[in-house]
């Protein structure tokens, strides 16, 4: 299976990606969880957002070393993502996919890249710490600038409205409904 090599800052090349494609990503990414999104929405983005990639991750950092840095659940950031895309962010890395609203927001300009949940050691082995913004938010919630070396990812949502997570989940729920024609009989 073909693996496309991407490097930040991302540009128009992401428009040719399709949901289900495997890619590797190199270059700088910025971690952000709930608190960092709120801070950036209110006070501005501390890095150049044009072509940037945001990683939904709260790493474990020891000194200048990243010890563990797997992805967190992206859906928590559904309502906090539009302003980043409007500012020029071209890629989001996380796990579990994002809501249908974000699928529309990504259209024509950005992609959602899935990294395997729980793979904290694999992630750390492909990372080098570059710097930090908002350290006062604490280790998990700060924005860490991280240099990636070919992190293996899957295009979960492409820039054309195709959402692999959504399609798989909808099919699973439909299958479940088809298999059992009534509710599970939980006492009313």
């Amino acid at each position: 299976m073909k693996v496309t090599e991407l490097r930040t800052p991302l540009g128009e090349e992401i428009l040719s990606l399709r949901a289900g494609d495997r890619v590797t990503l190199s270059g700088t990414v910025y971690t952000a969880r709930d608190e960092a999104h709120l801070r950036m929405q209110e006070g501005g983005i501390p890095f150049d957002p044009r072509g940037a990639v945001v990683y939904h991750c709260g790493p474990v950092v020891a000194g200048d070393r990243i010890v563990a840095a797997g992805p967190t659940t992206s859906a928590r950031m559904d309502a906090l993502t539009g302003f980043l895309l409007d500012a020029g962010v071209r890629g989001i890395i996380g796990k579990g996919g994002m809501g249908k609203g974000v699928v529309e927001l990504l259209r024509g300009r950005a992609v959602y890249l899935a990294f395997t949940g729980g793979c904290a050691a694999l992630a750390a082995s492909r990372m080098r710490l570059q710097g930090v913004y908002f350290p006062e938010l604490g280790m998990a919630e700060a924005v860490w600038a991280i240099e990636l070396d070919r992190l293996p990812l899957v295009v979960g949502i492409d820039a054309h409205g195709n959402d692999l997570f959504g399609r798989v989940w909808d099919e699973a729920k439909a299958q479940c409904r088809g298999r059992f024609h009534s509710s599970s009989g939980i006492t009313p």
Partner: protein, 280 residues
């Protein structure tokens, strides 16, 4: 009879708890790793195969570098067996909590325990009722740790089914996984409790997660097959393996009840046991 407040006993138990956590957080049990390897071998979906390959590489890197398997180091659920000559006292529970604090500092673990309402972090993975300690009689003093992450715990369910609909058990299990989608970091292991009471069935489901996953009885196999036919796959990206295994524990129950619980466990099914040597 040993004295329950013997400092050597309490120190040995604290060290055994910390040691079991240090093992569990960096090295998966052999049966779990083997189940992931087998799933990787038979997977037909290339995206899913890639995800399982990443997981296997992660397991190898964590074991080699003695680093954390996952950054969600979980809430440490503790199971003790206590021999007849050791009285079960509050001091033993406190020794276990001390072991959790030692592990949090030494390994280090991410501090995950917070006040449920103020959300203030206690900073050391202990607090009122945390770690939960479950005690059973045994021949030796042993401590088993089950660090439980939140992503999979949050999609777990308890249901009080109609007692006339025993077929509802399979449906409840499959529904639980369908509702969870990719959120619990599949491929999952399901601990299923059937019977007991509202509280007891959840404990059964969690105890089922302590069972080895290298064997399933025909009922467990049927549940596992039904779950895998959903096609959710590793991380919810689609594929043949949504569940590595389903393990079931049963208890009797009220004639008017049919309690069922599904405790969902992510692929990082961490558990380890230490015998506290020298204490019988």
């Amino acid at each position: 009879m040993h004295r329950a407040d013997d400092p050597a006993l309490l120190a040995a138990l604290a060290e055994a708890t910390a040691g079991a956590l240090a093992e569990a957080e960096v090295r998966l049990p052999g049966d779990v790793e083997q189940a992931i390897r087998a799933a990787h071998g038979r997977e037909r979906n290339p995206v899913a195969k890639g995800e399982l390959g990443n997981i296997l590489e992660n397991i190898a890197l964590a074991g080699k570098g003695r680093t954390l398997l996952c950054q969600d180091t979980g809430i440490p659920v503790i199971y003790l067996t206590i021999p007849p000559d050791i009285p079960y006292t509050r001091a033993l529970e406190e020794a276990v909590a001390r072991g959790v604090r030692l592990a949090t500092e030494r390994i280090p673990l991410r501090p995950n325990a917070v006040d449920p309402c103020t959300r203030k972090n206690t900073g050391d993975n202990t607090g009122p009722g945390i770690p939960p300690v479950h005690v059973q009689p045994g021949d030796r003093l042993t401590v088993t740790v089950l660090p439980k992450g939140a992503g999979s715990e949050n999609v777990s369910r308890v249901g009080m089914l109609l007692p006339t609909r025993t077929a509802g058990v399979e449906q409840f299990v499959v529904e639980t996984v369908a509702l969870a989608g990719g959120r619990p970091c599949p491929p999952v292991i399901l601990g299923v409790g059937i019977g007991s009471t509202f509280d007891g069935v959840a404990a059964l489901a969690k105890e089922a997660l302590l069972l080895p996953v290298d064997a399933m009885d025909p009922f467990e196999q049927r549940l596992c097959g039904a779950v895998n036919s959903l096609g959710i796959g590793p991380m919810g990206l689609g594929g043949d393996t949504t569940a590595l295994a389903v393990k079931v524990k049963r208890a009797a129950c009220h004639t008017a009840s049919l309690p069922v619980a599904v405790n969902v466990q992510c692929w990082a099914a961490r558990r380890a046991t230490r015998i506290v040597e020298g204490w019988k």
